[in-house]
Amino acid sequence: MSGTSARPMRTQGGEAVLQCRDLSVHFKTGEGRISAVNGVSFDLHRGQCLGVVGESGSGKSQTFLAILGLLASNGHATGSVMLNGEEILNTTRRKLDAIRGEKLAIVFQDSITGLTPHKRIGDQLCEVLTQHRGMTRSQARTRAMEMLELVRIPEPARRFRMYPHEFSGGMRQRVMIAQALLCQPDVLIADEPTTALDVTVQAQILKLFKGLADHTDTALVMITHDLGVVAGLCDEVMVMYAGRAIEQASVDSLFYDPRHPYTRGLLACMPRADRDSESLTAIPGQPPDLSELPPGCAYAPRCGQAFDRCLIERPSLDMAVEGHLKACHLENAP
């Protein structure tokens, strides 16, 4: 990958690295069919960072597991996902193996169980390079060591021979990130990479991602439930609720002009220095049961502004203003 030192301007035109169209995921369970993701579409461009926001169970993680072909065995995905213009959804395992870790990498939320406990850290890193790049053991070692330094792991040579349980949580997450970056992927997906960490460590890891977003042209997907993370890191945002994208916009547009009551609710939940703590509100109620979604808008039962149409007709994801999509029957006025 040619080293682009500065962050490239957002290129709305041109080919997207990752293009997702009408992606749906459902699971067959003993209790029936659960629809986890419904009709999600987005474009991701080189050097761009997409924030995906939602509560747990909103389908944000399943969307990207489906893209990577990592759904649980009872899950099935439909729609289309193009990576560099090539269809990768439901493709063969052989093709997936060539893409995963090489062009499309992921950092999972849980670094504690995410690394194989009985393999040395060095071996887990090197196997990515020997697999994808055909490197010799010593070449891979040199490259992996560089990568550990890049994610600021002290004494990489000594750490190389250690097992995961000898690392702290933050260090393990750094290893996971280093592992994902080894092949300089076109797209890096980070699935709540800081949730399991202490606040100070969170900040360090986010700084790492920030540097990554600014200094390479790897496209970044940041899955999170923390709008603060999105504000500091991302260019575009997709807000998900009950398996659907309900609002998609640029970060600026979303934060200054939120169009969906749910997004507004999320923003109101965010503690901010320039607001009284009394104005902090929680969204009442719970996310709906995915196996029996209501016919109308899934958010309507919790929405303070819902009216009768919301209960019978599901709003489609439409353009509110240029580059800002929302799925809500309310008029644009907040």
């Binding site: 995963r100 870790g101 999972f108 995410g114 194989t116 196997e127 990515v128 697999q131 097992y163 349980h165």
Partner: protein, 307 residues
């Protein structure tokens, strides 16, 4: 690692002493003795015999004398097989039992693990159901039913394999006893492997390995197998004990000249030295193999070693 092995050895020695003492006093505690059946013998002859085998002394003294001799490696003379020492009988029986049991445990491990892995990788498909049905059958149909049925089919009807006998461990004589002995262990091992495999394949680090772009055989071989094998290693001890107790019956059914026969004969005839000898050999084998299993476990799981 060495200190780990040493500490385990330190507990193995007292365990063996408990076995020896337990078996010794258990047999002496019962009324009657080895010469009860020989009613035609003169009382003086019996007295002489009892003196020859130390049986006229107090039990505690008998034990001390037995242990001193044992320390020199002498198991004493057999009572039933009057012309043989127990050591000689063991020298006949042990190689047979060792070969039979060793081959059976190897067969059980290889076949059981392969079946379990295949079933897990094809979960809820016909190959899973077929292997698990076989496993269930092996579990529910005991070896002493399987063995006669096998001889009936392959020996009597098809005339492919000999009905019984050892024939110096010829392959054709080994097949049926090994199958009968290994089958219950195959059943348990394959179920264990399948369960362990299913659990491990759900782990987050397996998902990570797949996300790295490793092909499935590498995911299984390099990230799953070690952890999958942990419960199997834990089961190795009971499996070996199962093979040993099973071999007692299998040797009887197929008329094999192994240790099991001497153990049963010894127990029935109150041949104290013979029973002691066989029990000590069985117990030593079980304790040593358990030790081996512990060491393998420590080797496989880096977290155990450091404790």
């Amino acid at each position: 690692m060495l200190s780990f092995i040493f500490r385990r050895l330190m507990t193995a020695v007292p365990t063996l002493l408990v076995v020896i003492a337990g078996a010794f006093f258990l047999m002496r505690a019962a009324p009657g003795g080895p010469f009860d059946a020989d009613a035609q013998l003169e009382p003086e002859v019996i007295d002489n015999l009892r003196a020859a085998y130390d049986l006229d002394r107090p039990v505690l003294e008998q034990f001390v004398r037995y242990m001193t001799r044992l320390a020199r490696g002498d198991f004493g003379p057999s009572i039933t097989y009057a012309d043989y020492s127990v050591t000689e009988l063991l020298a006949i029986g042990l190689p047979v039992s060792l070969k039979l049991g060793g081959v059976a445990i190897l067969v059980a491990l290889v076949v059981g693990c392969l079946m379990g892995i295949f079933a897990a990788l094809h979960r809820n498909r016909w190959i899973d159901y077929v292997t698990m049905s076989i496993a269930m059958t092996g579990f529910a149909v005991p070896a002493f039913v399987v063995a006669p049925v096998l001889t009936l089919i392959f020996g009597l009807y098809l005339k492919l394999l000999p009905l019984s006998g050892w024939n110096d461990g010829a392959l054709s004589n080994m097949i049926l006893p090994v199958i009968a002995l290994a089958l219950p262990q195959i059943a348990i091992l394959s179920r264990l492997t399948r369960g362990s495999m299913l659990e491990v394949m759900r782990a987050n680090y397996i998902r990570t390995a797949r996300a790295k772009g490793l092909p499935e055989y590498k995911v299984v071989a390099s990230h799953a197998l070690k952890v999958v094998s942990l419960p199997l290693v834990s089961y190795l001890g009971p499996a070996i004990a199962g093979i040993m107790t099973g071999s007692v019956i299998i040797e009887q059914i197929f008329g094999l000249p192994g240790m099991g026969r001497y153990f049963i004969q010894g127990a029935l005839n109150r041949d104290y030295p013979l029973v002691m000898g066989t029990v000590i050999v069985y117990a030593t084998a079980i304790i040593l193999l358990n030790l081996l299993a512990d060491v393998i476990y420590g080797y496989l799981d880096p977290r155990v070693r450091r404790e």
